[in-house]
Symmetry: C2
Subunit: 338 residues, 2 copies
């Protein structure tokens, strides 16, 4: 008998549901589309139908331990209510946990999507075994999560880890949150496209301008491909991206001094394009990182940092997520495994 849990990852267009065994195998995965216009109860019906199919299918080999949901948005964890989710607008103040628990008769756990992503990477991915870590997800914005002593650290309102709105440029690009110069205005897919449009407008990015005229228009992926082909304006965009992400990570390292920081989300696949500038910034801007990563400092003139902290210190690790889009499914299922 291998017990299992259900993991649900509610993305912008896709709703993915999987049965995951307690030893970390995806037994079966179902993709539904998130029908944005659906009534809240219809969406619950569709999800519960899929979960029931999975449970019937795999109930013979083990017990269902519960179901965990990773949802982008503001969630009242105590009440089990989704306050607001851009992906599922009809769930505004909707009591998701009660609605599903009543229907399925199993324990339901809600959590923010970046936070289940972190749990997944910590259980089976890049941060396997790390009791203290932070995760940044780079997508249309920046999501974040902090894991302390093996558990999600929520803070007072469940909002700990709002890394996307750390100020990078005090008088920089306006953000929807009311601030200027938020990290996610500089290090996200949205930011890449904005910088690409600015480069086109400046008239010195012919390859990017050409790409913009193809269907379906500019995407972050196109700019990444151009950068990898050596296009200088595209490379410049990823250097700006890496600089901003480096400033953000240095700030987080200075505040938290954790063992491990994992960078995930769709845009993390452009790692090769932004990571060199990112690491350069972090070494310069975090004495904690520079001092606890002496191997990378050879040839640098960062003696001051090396002097004040013992060189035998444990290393600070900043690395890529490895589970890709399954991280959320694993993490959501883990939530229900306790």
């Amino acid at each position: 008998m291998t017990d299992f849990a259900i993991g649900v990852d509610m993305g912008g267009t896709n709703l993915r549901i999987a049965a995951v065994s307690i030893d970390g195998q995806i037994l079966e995965k179902i993709n539904l589309s998130t029908n944005m216009s659906a009534r809240p109860d219809d969406l619950v019906d569709a999800m519960c139908g899929a979960i029931e199919r999975l449970t019937k299918q795999h109930g013979g080999t083990g017990n269902l331990l519960g179901a965990g949901f990773g949802i982008a948005g503001i969630i009242d964890l105590e009440a089990g209510v989704v306050r607001k989710s851009a992906n599922v607008p009809s769930w505004c103040n909707y009591p998701v946990r009660d609605a599903i628990e009543r229907r399925l008769g199993t324990r339901i756990f809600l959590e923010n999507d970046a936070k289940v992503h972190a749990l997944g990477e910590q259980w089976l991915g890049a941060a396997r075994g790390a009791r203290e870590m932070a995760l940044l997800t780079l997508g249309t914005g920046i999501g974040g999560a902090i894991v302390l002593d093996g558990k999600i650290f929520h803070g007072l309102h469940g909002m700990a880890g709002e890394f996307g709105h750390v100020t990078i440029e005090p008088e920089g690009v306006p953000c929807g949150c009311g601030n200027r110069g938020c990290a996610e205005r500089y290090a996200s897919a949205t930011a890449i496209v904005r910088m690409a449009r600015e480069a086109i407008a400046a008239g010195n990015a012919p390859e990017i301008a050409r790409a913009a005229h193809t269907e379906p228009g500019l995407t972050a992926k196109m700019i990444y491909d151009l950068a990898m082909q050596g296009d200088e304006p595209a490379r410049c965009i990823f250097r700006s991206f890496g600089r901003a992400l480096g400033i953000l990570l240095a700030d987080i390292v200075n505040v938290l001094n954790l063992k491990m920081y994992v960078v995930g989300g769709g845009v993390a696949s452009a790692w090769d394009a932004f990571a060199p500038t990112m690491f350069e910034e972090i070494r310069r801007r975090s004495i904690i990182y520079a001092a606890s990563f002496p191997d990378e400092m050879q040839g640098d003139s960062e003696g001051a940092a090396a002097n004040i902290v013992d060189r035998t210190l444990q290393k600070t690790i900043i690395t890529r997520a490895v589970l890709g889009s399954d991280a959320g499914l694993f993490g959501a299922a883990k939530l229900a495994m306790g």
Copy 2:
């Protein structure tokens, strides 16, 4: 019988030692001067002599529970060794805990000075009863501490809470740490004096220029007094200070989402001069703060923030420390009370 502990606060010029009862009374306080040139053992002798006097004096009324030391610098908490302290240069890699424990025969606890300051404010001061809080100490630089579940959160190398080196202006004033634009370059006593000198050099700060010609030369206190008298260039310096501190606090709120943030240290006494700008920046730059502090938002146009987070949320509190220079003594003693 009221048991007590010894608290030691090792400042730049003063070494303060107190017997503190478990109910939070200072029974007696001794001031020694930190003789910077003293041999490490001489300093230990002087301190132990004072601690023995206090113990003899108050041993009749209760048991000595131990002695806690708040030390500015890098401390290896596990080994009980001071790696480096600007205030006590002779203690470089000095095994303070063993040296004192051997001599006194009581349990010795070492901790960073900002961190014992936080313990003091959490025990008896502005954060009394708060299980989760952060403290910033504004002095020649910025010190910091994070308290989670009632205990100091150290991070991997004991460096969690290095708030002074969070980047505020990515291409700003160079910092001794190797970075540019660190928070403590803009919101410390040192920063106030730098900005004052710049104002003098710019030729439009006659009152500050006059103050600079008195003995013992420019101090942050002088600029504060001028600001309180309405001198516009001095007020402008504190607005810059408040802006930088506001950016820093907004970043910390966005990362940690704690209940309470306490601002202490000598320069916190200039609160009236910098707090209005500081709060303005925090409201603008942290949606978490703005949304969880609706009372302050009346007349503001921060509806976006208010909409996404429930108005019944617990408030985020940002406030001044109240224990002044005794916070370190209380916190150091508390360390030894367990």
